[in-house]
């Protein structure tokens, strides 16, 4: 597999702000790649560096090995689904989808037929005559997708593609995007601040923080073995164990992360660690129980969250309980 997109020490500064700060990154051909991070972390700027709407201040962006330094956006084999969809309001859906072919000088009949084919692909057959304003948010999203795919781009960029949709529709679109990507075999790069979306769709995830990549890896790697405190905090809702507490849990001399679902509540007698229940939050699929272990350790505030599955027994607030955990789930990490 060759590299579809390659960042070689790329920085993008806006005045004094380093939006992207010395990022190196390789996205393989055919990969479904997610750029995850809070707003202002540089993930959208990275996407715009690929599409060509931003130029790197220093460094080189390569697409299929070619240096894109002198290639304007309209000459790249890359297309974008914009966050606000950016459908042309004065054109009907069919003309919107066919725009990319019109630009290339494809004759009207061929391009309208092709537009219909793509509309069918995104399950919008028969919507060709409508104006974008007459569509729902989810439908507009599909039109934007069809429009971006008509030129058969080699890399498709998606900027917060599902951000404006409601939960139900978002989940349906997640499955559909994933399926579409598998069928077409195109490299998908998408930007999101929703860790659930990134983990469920992407083959690999890059977690961005303050213009830098905190960690790149498969969804399971990122989730189970966060490299830094930031990743552990941002992806999921890990327990961050201070070095003292980490030692108690079996990791010496470092900060460690421990996922709530890797912990179990057991009777206090004979348990290696005990604590008092301080709160319980019902989440539907389970209950998140917080347990204060500090009074037993005599250290600074140390609360541990435990995910009790729906079938499990939830102890009452104030109860003294013991904790058990999978030893290999305690994962040492850097402090950053």
């Amino acid at each position: 597999m060759s590299a579809a997109v390659q960042f070689d020490h790329v920085s993008r500064h806006f005045g004094g702000v380093k939006a992207v700060d010395d990022v190196s990154l390789t996205i393989a051909e055919g990969e479904f790649f997610a750029m995850l991070g809070p707003s202002g972390s540089g993930k959208t700027t990275c996407l715009r560096l690929i599409s060509g709407f931003e130029k790197p201040t220093t460094g080189v962006v390569r697409i299929f090995g070619e240096d894109m330094g002198a290639v304007p956006p309209n000459q790249r084999q890359v297309n974008t689904v914009f966050q606000d969809y950016a459908l042309f309001p004065h054109m009907n859906v069919r003309d919107n989808v066919g725009y990319g072919l019109m630009v290339r000088g494809v004759d009207r009949r061929t391009r309208l037929a092709e537009a219909e084919r793509l509309l069918a692909l995104v399950h919008l057959d028969g919507f060709g005559d409508r104006k974008p304003a007459q569509l729902s948010g989810g439908q507009r999203q599909r039109v934007a997708l069809a429009r971006a795919l008509i030129n058969k781009p080699r890399v498709l960029l998606l900027d917060e593609p599902l951000g404006a949709l409601d939960l139900k529709l978002r989940e349906a679109m997640q499955d559909e995007l994933k399926k579409l990507q598998r069928e077409l075999g195109i490299t998908f790069v998408f930007v999101t601040h929703d860790q659930g979306e990134a983990l469920s769709m992407a083959d690999r995830v890059a977690v961005f923080s303050q213009g830098k990549i905190a960690q790149v890896g498969s969804a399971t790697e990122i989730y189970a073995r966060p490299a830094t405190r930031f990743v552990a905090d941002f992806v999921g809702s890990s327990n961050i164990l201070a070095p003292d507490l980490a030692r108690t849990f079996g990791v010496a001399g470092a900060l460690a992360s421990l996922r709530p679902e890797a912990l179990r509540i057991i009777p206090a007698e004979g348990a290696r660690i005990t604590g008092r229940v301080t709160g319980a939050r019902y989440l539907g699929a389970g209950t998140r129980v917080t347990i204060a272990v500090n009074e037993y350790l005599g250290k600074e505030e140390a609360e541990i969250a435990v995910l009790v599955p729906a079938a499990g027994k939830v102890p009452g607030i104030g109860a003294v309980v013991g904790l058990d955990w999978d030893a290999d789930a305690v994962h040492p990490m850097e402090a950053a």
Partner: protein, 313 residues
């Protein structure tokens, strides 16, 4: 606990009025728009109707007295070659002024909408508005001097050896003349200068509303700058262009001062109305002339709508 009621006691007339407006929002609307509506209805629409009625009267050619009987005689008069010429001349001038204003205004408006920020934006507004703050007559007379045979344009043209070009321009049949200030070219130039701000401002407002992401979408799909201009920017900015053209077109149609001061004294609709209702005392024909621009504008708007100019609104 003395007062256990849920509602506070009323505190006079304003509280009662507020309560009335809250219960009946229609009353508030009525109070607010009664005065402007009366103004529009009586003073504006009323005088238009009076104008329309006058145009169906005729004048007795011997006594010069207005005959208050409905007839189409006056409109037939309008179609006589001398009068029809005036209409054709005015409409041609208005159309060319509008076209030239649009072409000149677009780059300026585009720059202001897309690139100018902060201080430059303020400078832009000031630059566009400043000419509107000085007297219209002062500007027109200033242009008469600029365009005259001894004016700065001839002087500069001769200075750089382009006097021949100017002479060739003035020798053009139909639009040329003795000097710029006594030719149609001069009238045209001054019209464009005077009405240009009215084209720039609405154009700029509509260009500002075209989202950046739409231009990016166009580029991402492979379109170059010209294609984006033609297929995305212009259609989306069209309502602003139409709004601007309504200003430049109708202002040129009705103006009677510029063609009187600058040009070859050829008659325009505005001048015709001015003479007919004044010295000639032919109110019905003046009224009929005044109806022409209204009809033209209605037709123009109808065509613009048919072409989809307002679809993007």
């Amino acid at each position: 606990m003395s007062d256990l009621r849920a509602a506070l006691p009323g505190r006079g007339i304003w509280d009662r009025l507020t309560a009335l407006f809250w219960r009946r929002p229609g009353v508030l609307v009525a109070v607010l728009i009664a005065a402007p509506l009366a103004w529009l209805g009586i003073v504006y629409v009323g005088s238009l109707v009076a104008l329309l009625i006058q145009s169906f009267y005729s004048i007795n050619e011997f006594s010069g007295v207005v005959v208050k009987e409905f007839t189409l005689k006056t409109y037939a008069e309008l179609l006589r070659p001398a009068n029809a010429d005036v209409i054709v001349r005015t409409v041609t001038m208005a159309a060319s002024v509008t076209l030239a204003s649009a072409v000149l205004a677009f780059p300026i408006a585009y720059y202001a909408a897309r690139f100018a920020r902060g201080r430059w934006k303020a400078a832009f507004y000031l630059g566009i508005m400043l000419p509107l703050w000085s007297s219209y007559l002062v500007k027109v007379y200033a242009w008469k001097l600029i365009l005259s045979k001894e004016g700065i344009i001839s002087w500069a043209a001769n200075g750089i050896g382009a006097g021949g070009v100017l002479d060739a321009l003035l020798a053009l049949p139909g639009i040329g003349g003795n000097s710029l200030s006594t030719s149609y070219i001069g009238t045209f130039l001054v019209f464009v200068y005077v009405w240009l701000p009215y084209m720039i401002l609405p154009m700029q407002a509509s260009l500002e509303r075209v989202p950046q992401s739409m231009l990016e979408a166009s580029a991402a799909l492979g379109a170059g700058g010209l294609r984006a201009l033609w297929s995305v920017i212009l259609p989306l900015a069209l309502p602003g262009v139409i709004a601007g053209s309504i200003f430049t077109f109708s202002l040129t149609l009705g103006d009677y001062i510029i063609p009187q001061i600058i040009g070859n004294s050829a008659n325009f609709i505005g001048m015709a109305v001015y003479h007919l209702q004044g010295t000639a005392g032919n109110i019905p024909l003046a009224a009929a002339f005044a109806v022409v621009p209204i009809l033209i504008m209605l037709v123009y708007l109808g065509i613009a709508r048919k072409l989809g100019a307002f679809d993007a609104l």
